[in-house]
């Protein structure tokens, strides 16, 4: 039996797809979401067992190539200096994220005007502000109002405790007179809307068994389903189909039994992340769109931006109990966020304090860095690191470069025979200089905090969490893929709401901004439904 046509078809149930679906359901249109992954169960997350670290680097790895689960597709990353990371399930990568929740700053939307690099966005912080606020309320955000680095906003809940590690690092920043502030975190410091407060399990990156960390399967989706949104899991979209006029008219997807299904829709919305979205567009070729859907600009899959990360670690004499508490959520610093050309690079980066690793990962990372040997000296070297280290990450702003791309691999396919994405990414000279600067400043901060020894990973390869820029937003159809409302220039009933639409990356985690954009796009559709498909 053919599937009934729907009003709105959302592809992808992660951070942006969830927010969009929840909002667009207000229209009363029928809304269907297809996701290639399953619903997750909190009782299955690794922190329920003693083998939590073992599972965290296996079936719960952030890399789809390591996991290789049925819901995953392979990514050819051989030509990339950073490994793309993601999770495929209802909730998407919010299942395995750290839930660090900064917003892009107002200046991040106008880098060309301010610094002569990148492009200005067609929208600004003020446009998104109401949607940041809605999103904070739905996700449940802990933080401290009044950070001078941002326009004033009030997080939903009080900040998470810094713990010994955060207190030590904050005192280091204070000694140096550098900006720092408790992080906005999508983790509950108090019970909130039926979810329990964080109990400091530690391994946020393998799913939160407590449910205190916001992932959209437990925030947006229950509310969206109450509004009538239908979810079909285990469904992998192969291509978006078009009608004779070149408008999107639905998708072809493989159902959980591997059968090819057709689903018609009046509006198609892509929420598949900065790799999955261009992959699907490029795989949706037709006579009307021979270079892939919405690709008359030739920019689909181009301008891929990550956030190149450096990790700087200090060893302390005192015990810090660093693995306890939300791993990525403690404090941030925007001391080096804005352009200062005397530093030798343009734009900047933020620091984030992170808590420490569990024992197995302490030993493994110590081995990789030559600090924890095997044999008779193992235990002593391990004890020097474990519970005695604190780290900071530097999240540097990546500048868009058309040579950094997502394309279709000519040979590699997923389990359904759909071409896999191939990522080509080279670090810019500007990013290298920024990372080097961050390593030195990070060591300075850790030393000020009391570290007796410091060391660094100047570029973390396994750091491609943030997949941005591959279907950028803009007013000019020749230099962008979607307009300022997330609507494809070439296909008026096709919308993109994930990180693909980012014009610049900023130097902070992007999820808060991705979700605000998804809500903003949905709001625009709701307000302009009568004229949505009129010519520009």
């Amino acid at each position: 039996m053919p599937n009934e046509p729907v009003g709105v078809l959302v592809i992808g149930a992660g951070a942006s797809g969830a927010a969009f679906a929840w909002s667009i359901a207000d229209t009363g249109m029928s809304v269907l979401c297809l996701d290639q992954g399953p619903w997750m169960k909190q009782q299955d997350y690794p922190s329920n067992g003693l083998d939590w670290e073992e599972r965290g680097i296996g079936e719960f790895s952030t890399s789809p190539n390591v996991r290789g689960l049925p819901a995953d597709y392979p990514v050819n990353e051989q030509q990339s200096e950073i490994s793309p990371l993601m999770f495929n399930a209802v909730g998407g990568s919010t299942i395995l994220w750290a839930a660090h929740f900064p917003r892009l700053t107002p200046r991040d939307f106008r880098t060309k005007s301010d610094d002569g690099v990148g492009e200005d966005w067609p929208i600004d912080y003020e446009t998104l502000e109401p949607f940041f606020a809605i999103n904070d309320r739905i996700m449940g955000v802990s933080g401290l109002a009044g950070d001078p680095a941002y326009p004033y906003h009030e997080p939903t809940l009080p900040p998470l405790p810094l713990g010994k590690t955060g207190n030590a690092l904050a005192s280091g920043f204070e000694k140096l007179g550098w900006h720092w502030w408790p992080s906005d975190s999508a983790i509950l410091s108090q019970e909130y809307e039926g979810r329990e407060a964080c109990i400091n399990l530690g391994p946020c990156l393998t799913g939160c068994a407590q449910g205190a960390k916001a992932s959209t399967d437990i925030t947006y989706w229950p509310a969206a389903q109450r509004k009538g949104v239908e979810m079909r899991t285990g469904c992998r979209v192969r291509e978006i189909t078009v009608d004779a006029g070149g408008m999107a008219d639905g998708v072809l997807y493989y159902d959980p039994d591997g059968q090819l299904q057709e689903q018609k829709a009046e509006i198609v919305v892509l929420a598949c992340n900065g790799i999955g979205t261009p992959r699907l567009l490029l795989n949706s070729k037709s006579s009307q769109h021979p270079n892939g859907l919405a690709n008359s600009s030739g920019l689909v899959g181009k301008n891929l931006m990550f956030h190149p990360y450096a990790v700087i670690t200090g060893i302390f004499d005192e015990t810090l109990h660093g693995r306890r508490g939300p791993v990525g959520c403690s404090l941030w610093s925007h001391e080096f966020y804005r352009t200062d050309r005397s530093r030798g690079f343009v734009r900047g980066y933020s620091f984030e304090a992170v808590r420490s690793l569990g024992p197995a990962m302490t030993a493994l990372s110590g081995m990789v860095q030559g600090m924890v040997p095997w044999g008779k000296d193992h235990h002593q070297a391990f004890a020097r690191l474990y519970n005695h280290s604190a780290s900071m990450t530097a999240i540097t702003e990546d500048l868009a470069d058309e040579s950094n791309t997502v394309t279709l691999d000519p040979e590699l396919t997923d389990s359904h025979g759909i071409p896999a994405p191939k990522v080509t990414y080279h670090l810019s000279d500007n990013s290298r200089k920024m990372l080097a600067h961050a390593v030195e400043r990070g060591k300075e901060a850790l030393t000020a905090a009391g570290a007796v020894e410091t060391f660094a990973q100047p570029l973390l390869r396994e750091a491609g969490w943030h997949l941005l820029g591959t279907a950028r937003m803009g007013r000019d159809p020749s230099t962008s893929v979607v307009n300022e409302r997330g609507q494809a220039h070439d296909v008026k009933n096709l919308f993109i709401v994930d990180g693909s639409v980012f014009v610049t990356a900023g130097g902070v985690n992007p999820t808060s901004t991705i979700q605000a954009i998804a809500l903003y796009v949905a709001d625009n559709i709701k307000k302009n439904i009568e004229t949505l498909f009129d010519p520009a």
């Binding site: 997350y45 922190s47 329920n48 067992g49 003693l50 083998d51 939590w52 670290e53 073992e54 680097i57 401290l144 109002a145 009044g146 950070d147 001078p148 941002y150 004033y152 900040p159 405790p161 810094l162 713990g163 010994k164 955060g166 207190n167 904050a170 005192s171 204070e174 502030w181 408790p182 109990i199 400091n200 399990l201 530690g202 391994p203 068994a209 407590q210 109990h321 306890r324 508490g325 569990g358 024992p359 197995a360 030993a363 493994l364 081995m367 095997w374 044999g375 008779k376 193992h378 235990h379 391990f382 004890a383 474990y386 519970n387």
Partner: protein, 150 residues
């Protein structure tokens, strides 16, 4: 024709090898990895790993043969210092032996209740009890209150 059993399934040899890689601590609080019956799970992990598994297996085979050339009873019969010398000699020509082995051994070792207690951790999973975390230093909060943007 019978298939030759993998060296990774030679339990006596693997116990001895694991005990060289993670020996007991001097204080005796932490057991050696060879005393914890981890060899089967480590071998299973390696045998499912198409990249590291073959490299570790080749290295382990070389270690076993080198040990047998020195002692007819092989690595399990050798004193730790002598076994370490044999292992070190093979690591040079099998650079991924230790790294590959530890990829599976460390996660297996550091989840054992005896080991967790030995490093000062409660021998339980993080959930459902969780952990206490020290609150934010009130002096730091006072500083921030004064710095808040209205």
């Amino acid at each position: 024709m019978t298939e030759t059993p993998s060296v990774l399934n030679d339990h006596d040899f693997m116990k001895a090898l694991l005990n060289l890689v993670i020996p007991p601590s001097e204080s005796g609080e932490l057991p050696g990895a060879g005393a914890l019956d981890l060899e089967a799970s480590v071998a299973a992990g390696l045998q499912a790993d198409p990249l590291l598994g073959p490299m570790v297996e080749a290295g382990a085979l070389a270690v076993r043969e080198a040990a047998l050339s020195q002692d007819p009873d092989g690595l399990p019969a050798m004193a730790p210092q002598d076994g370490t010398t044999v292992l070190e000699a093979q690591v040079a020509s099998h650079p991924f032996l230790i790294m590959g082995l530890l990829r599976y051994l460390y996660p297996a070792y550091y989840q054992q209740p005896q080991v967790l207690e030995g490093i000062g951790e409660p021998p339980r999973p993080p959930f459902p009890e969780g952990f206490e975390v020290e609150p934010t230093d009130p002096k730091l909060l006072e500083i921030l209150q004064a710095r808040r943007k209205a």
